[in-house]
């Protein structure tokens, strides 16, 4: 009888909590343990973003931080300008020797922004799908609004909420 009761009431025992806590702590152990992996991730991240916008590789910074329910990745990637811009939209007019980094401020000071349509054109057409286009748009919007991204990393098989 007692057995039955304890079984009824303890179905959601501490093992689920243990598993979730371990998943998190191991994730952060692994991230802090392997600078090589972080370096590789940073390299790949910059490579992907560089397909769409020009970034200042020397000033890119990627870090990890444990938050309440996830480990978050913070990427600070200064944007220099658009990749393969059509001259009509934003002609690069900076003087020789001037740091290219200033290009970002050219856009903001003049309020000049490339059209998103232009970006679609500059992405390899053969491999574009509709999902890709949407993805590019979202990425570009975010890139133009701010050069700082903060994206939570969730392990693929992590439950979205407790229980």
């Amino acid at each position: 009888m007692f057995d039955l009761f304890s079984r009824l009431f303890k179905r959601d025992g501490s093992s689920a909590t243990a598993k979730e806590r371990l998943r998190l702590v191991l994730l952060s152990d692994h991230l802090s343990l392997s600078p090589d992996t972080v370096e590789a991730l940073k390299r790949d991240l910059i490579a992907v973003i560089s397909r769409y916008v020009k970034v200042d590789v020397g000033l890119c910074d990627v870090s990890f931080e444990q938050q309440a329910a996830t480990v978050a990745m913070h990427a600070n990637i200064p944007i220099l300008g658009m990749q393969n811009e059509r001259p009509a939209v934003a002609p690069p007019t900076y003087a020789k020797g001037e740091p290219r980094r200033n290009q970002a401020s050219i856009h903001s000071s003049t309020g000049e922004r490339p059209y998103l349509d232009d970006l679609k054109v500059t992405t390899p057409a053969a491999t574009m799908t509709e999902a890709d286009v949407a993805h590019v748009d979202a990425a570009t919007n975010e890139a133009l609004n701010s050069s700082e991204h903060s994206a939570p990393i969730t392990k693929p098989n992590a439950p979205s909420s407790a229980n």
């Binding site: 057995d3 025992g13 093992s15 689920a16 243990a18």
Partner: protein, 262 residues
């Protein structure tokens, strides 16, 4: 002949490395393999005690390395199980009395006339661990289903991966009743978290304490509950595909008792 050199390690202390080394080694010997068990826990030797040979130690591993005796002189033969040999650790020396190269030499020498050389690793990931791993080609990681043991096992698995050694997991001290009520992580949970291949599942059982008290390997008495568990572990180590014993299946006795309890 060149036998397999396998380290039994865990990171966290007290999770069952020595128990696993002794009983897995005894199970392999009982199956007719020639087995040498090496106690790498210099300064905290225990394997001799668990196997009941503590009174027969003449020389230890450090004395072999320092050339003060022959390797064969330091090996203690188990009188109950044929083909089981124990190389004791030094009790009054430091872990840095031996180098990684010396340890490798020692275990490769042993592998020349044994099918299995199983190394009982000290807890931790320092010098003693590095020695034991340096002498091995494969690893068995022992853990219990508790958060700290699993975290440490994960750390050790990382170190073993760095050295590109194949590794398998033994989950020790599982309590099926607690797993069932959700108070203990299951075997599946642990394997998933550590993404490791399983070599054995050993329940928490007072038989371990009882046989350790006597200095007897469990497989010596085939009526013991855990005898079949260690025998299966040995067969898996030899490449056989053996089903895992289901721990949650109530025995006939338990079922009768449960019926009687109402």
């Amino acid at each position: 002949m060149s036998g397999r050199r396998i380290v039994v390690t865990s990171g966290k202390g007290g999770v069952g490395k020595t128990t696993t080394t002794a009983n897995l080694g005894a199970a392999l010997a009982k199956r007719g393999r020639k087995v040498a068990l090496v106690d790498a826990d210099i300064g905290l030797r225990n394997l001799d005690l668990v196997l009941g040979v503590e009174k027969r130690i003449v020389f230890d591993l450090i004395e072999v390395v320092e050339g003060r005796c022959q390797l064969r002189q330091a090996l203690i033969r188990d009188k109950r199980i044929e083909n089981l040999w124990i190389l004791p650790a030094a009790q009054t020396r430091d872990k840095d009395s031996i180098t990684e190269a010396q340890f490798l030499r020692l275990t490769t020498d042993l592998a020349e006339f044994h099918d299995f050389v199983i190394i009982d690793c000290p807890a931790g990931i320092e010098h003693g661990f590095r020695n034991a791993v340096a002498g091995s080609q494969e690893a068995i990681v022992v853990t219990t289903p508790e958060v700290s043991a699993i975290r440490d096992a994960d750390r050790v698995i990382g170190k073993i991966h760095e050295r590109k050694l194949p590794m398998r997991l033994v989950i020790n001290r599982i309590r099926p009743d607690m797993v069932k009520s959700g108070e203990m992580m299951s075997v599946e949970d642990v394997c998933e978290i550590l993404s490791a291949e399983l070599l054995g599942i050993v329940p928490d059982d007072e038989e371990v304490i009882d046989t350790t008290n006597r200095g007897e390997p469990i497989v010596l008495d085939s009526t013991k509950r855990l005898a079949a568990i260690y025998d299966k572990m040995a067969r898996r180590l030899e490449g056989e595909i053996v089903e895992f014993t289901r721990l949650d299946e109530p025995s006939l006795l338990n079922r009768l008792l449960a019926g009687w309890r109402g």
